[in-house]
Amino acid sequence: MTFATPWALVGLLAAAIPVLLHLVERRQPPEQAFPAIRYLEDATRDQRRRLRLRHLLLLVLRTLAIVALVLAAAGARLSRTAPLGAHSPMALVLVLDNSASSATVVEGEALLTGLVREARAVLARATPADRLWLLLADGVARPGTAAELGARLDAVTVEGSRLDLGAAVRQADGLIAGTGRAGEIVVVTDAQRTAVSPATTEARIVVLRPTAAVPVNRSLAGLDPGPLPWAGAGGRLRIAVGASDSTAVPLRLEVPGLAGRDVLVSPGVPAVQRLELPTPGWHLVRATLPPDEFRLDDAASVAVRVAPPAAVTWDPADPFVDAAMRVLRTEGRVRDGAAVTVGRLGQAASVVVPPEDPARIGALNRALAARGVAWRYGTGSVAPSRTDSSTWLVDRIDVARHVGLEASGPGADTLVTIAGAPWLVRSGDVVLFGSRLEPAWTSLPIDAAFVPLLDALVTRVVRGEPVVPRANAGAAIDLPAAVTSLIGPEGPLAVEGGAPWRPPGAGSYWLVAGADTLGALSVTIDPRESALARATDDEVTDAWPEATIADLAGGAGRTFAAGGRGDLRPLLLLLVLLAVAAESVIAGRLTAVR
């Protein structure tokens, strides 16, 4: 039985009132000597039994009326389970959580095996009249008969991606709502705390989750080479390990062609390792933890490019650019040279800012056009605003003055926008800012992000390297437009540049344009999948009120209850009326006896 307003059940305390009154009435009466006690006994022998029965019946009827009234107020609904008979036709969405964490081995068996087994048990309870869907971690709801979905279960494997159970439940509720039938969402899951997000549904939710202890897991939470390319003889690799305890973990670093190295890393305390990679070009660095019950997060790899520092020239009169470039030169990130010009349009690669004098914008636009740059400065000025979040500038930057940028041909990449309008753009080896790098125009020159941004622009962007964000397995990313194929752990993959792509699993993918390697994409599983801690029942019901939670083993018996689910309020109110009517009749007879 379920209740629409469970708090109303507090009213059940009122059911004690008739009992209390009954007990109060049974207080010790005054005593009186009376010799003809045998006449009293004779007189009451038969009727006394009947009267006691009537009093008892009155007590039961009054209590029943109160209980029925309270249950009606609480919106009682009946859950009829299978033993009472076949359920009426209903809609059921089976959410099978085959996310990365389902690869965890518990008690010698992969978690997914148990989930699939119980999912089959749920489908076995379906009737041909039911409408069924199977929703997996890939987010695709597959309709079908119980037999078809059972066959699909045969092919289910662990997805490298994460499954947001709240989103899955909402999606399932939408499917059920479209059928107009009583529905049920059965979530067969390991119930990771990180996967349970709030959702409100019309359909009943049944959660089937394991109860076995969650194993301790250590994960490679981060493998960050810092700004690329590494110049000179090498660079520093930042390594982070996650675990539910603080015991230091041995970790092995391997680079093809170089000797491996063992490192001891404490969970939660990032370790920095300097790697010597003397050969220019791309190198794949792989880190591996000792295997545990959840293997998918025990290894990670990252592609590192080694290249000589960029040869840069800039205008020393520009104090902010000059200061930043001096820092980069001191760090070895750049050297003096004419390969890249910062602050104006040079002969080669350039980072361009608009001229202070608007009258010179026309000449600059003509020069840009002559270079084949697909961007030009407009004449309009945009009201003060802030940059939108982007890969290049995670923190938003204040922009007081801004000259509009207009795309004038193909090959125009937008790196940063303001309210959707281009502000930092690229075309070929030319990068254009919409504002001058002065505090009067933008706060960027006095922001901490200024030096790293200039580093990226002069060492990578103007060289034509694509913008490659970090990616999680199963999560869609936009591939750079120039990419024609990928080379992943399983071999080459044909992809469409500029289109969304969903990495099938963790690993490193080389981005290839024709015969050139544009870069590398490091794909890991979502770090939330590494947190195996299970949500408590309270946390589940907080997220999904009224959800029924059952053990994975045998929990299928709790499903398809919505098929017999009925509003008990009319019946309860009828019961109240009948109880009150019967009480009146019996109480009236009692009075007549007196």
């Binding site: 010790q28 009466p29 005054p30 005593e31 009186q32 000597a33 009376f34 010799p35 003809a36 006690i37 045998r38 006449y39 009293l40 006994e41 004779d42 007189a43 009451t44 009727q47 006394r48 009267l51 006896v593 007196r594």
Partner: protein, 306 residues
């Protein structure tokens, strides 16, 4: 007014046999008031108490109002012109035994203004004894509760009534009731045909008691059962729930009298009917007297039953 007349009346002039028992009790003790009750009762009958059981002439007595004309000695009237009545030497061919229940239940009364059943029955027994003794009937007394408490064999001699009255006046409620042994005691005391007046509230074992009474009847005795009851025992006073306790057995019944008054009344009626029927069936006289009845009325019922 003669002294005899004084004894029949209360200081206020009312006949004692017609007063309520409570009022009689307030006028004096058993020995003081009984004679007034009996005299008043006999005067009310308009006939002499010496009418009947003896046949041999004993002496003459001056006529008194209330004497039956048939006992006037007309010859003497003719000779002396004075009214005398004949008195006979009685033959004590009737031996009466009063059997009085003095159990704890008899010590109960339903209202302060009424006598306890024992007090009422004692006074009634004393009056009966006086009537019988005046008729020269040998009268004895057995009192009992769980066992026989006292036995006064039937006598007719002068002063015997005082002995009986003294025994009755000193009675106090005893314990439980077991009438059989008392009735068997009577068998030993009444060796010839006689009369047994069994005075009890009948809150006892009916089967055994009836068996003993029938045995007496079988022995040829004239048996009279005086069922003494307080009015509150016949009609349950309505009221809130009460725990009723039997003073003899300690058994309790808790109920609301208001709920049970009707059923109780029906039960009492049934019990009275059953006792009456059982007694009649055995040739036993039965009379119900309640403790609010004037003693004259009770005596009338008793004698009428006989």
């Amino acid at each position: 007014m003669s002294p005899a007349t004084d004894r029949r009346r209360s200081p206020a002039g009312a006949r004692l046999d017609l007063l309520s028992p409570g009022e009689v009790a307030r006028l004096g003790g058993l020995e003081v008031t009984t004679r007034g009750i009996v005299d008043g009762f006999l005067a009310g009958l308009h006939r002499s108490p010496r009418r009947g059981f003896s046949v041999e002439f004993a002496e003459h007595r001056q006529y008194q109002p209330g004497d039956e004309p048939r006992y006037v000695d007309w010859k003497l009237l003719a000779r002396t012109d004075r009214l005398y009545v004949k008195q006979f030497e009685e033959e004590t061919n009737l031996r009466a035994m009063l059997v009085l229940d003095a159990s704890a239940s008899m010590g109960w009364r339903g209202a302060e203004e009424r006598l306890t059943k024992l007090d009422y029955a004692s006074r009634l027994a004393a009056a009966l004894a006086m009537v019988l003794l005046r008729q020269r009937d040998a009268t004895g007394l057995v009192t009992f509760d769980a066992e026989v408490r006292s036995v006064l064999p039937p006598r007719v001699r002068r002063g015997h009534w005082q002995a009986l009255a003294g025994a009755l006046a000193g009675l106090a409620p005893g314990t439980t009731t077991a009438a059989e042994s008392a009735l068997h005691q009577v068998v030993g005391a009444l060796r010839r045909r006689g009369m047994v007046i069994f005075c009890s509230d009948l809150l006892l074992e009916p089967a055994l008691t009836l068996k003993a009474l029938k045995f007496l009847r079988h022995r040829g005795h004239d048996v009279l059962v005086l069922h003494v009851a307080d009015p509150a025992e016949l009609e349950l006073a309505r009221g809130e729930e009460t725990r009723f306790r039997d003073p003899e057995t300690g058994r309790t019944v808790t109920l609301a009298p208001t709920d049970w008054a009707q059923a109780y009344r029906e039960t009492v009626d049934r019990v009275v009917r059953e006792w009456g029927a059982a007694c009649r069936g055995a040739g036993i006289h039965y009379a119900l007297v309640t403790t609010d009845l004037p003693f004259g009325t009770a005596l009338g019922r008793t004698l009428a039953a006989r």
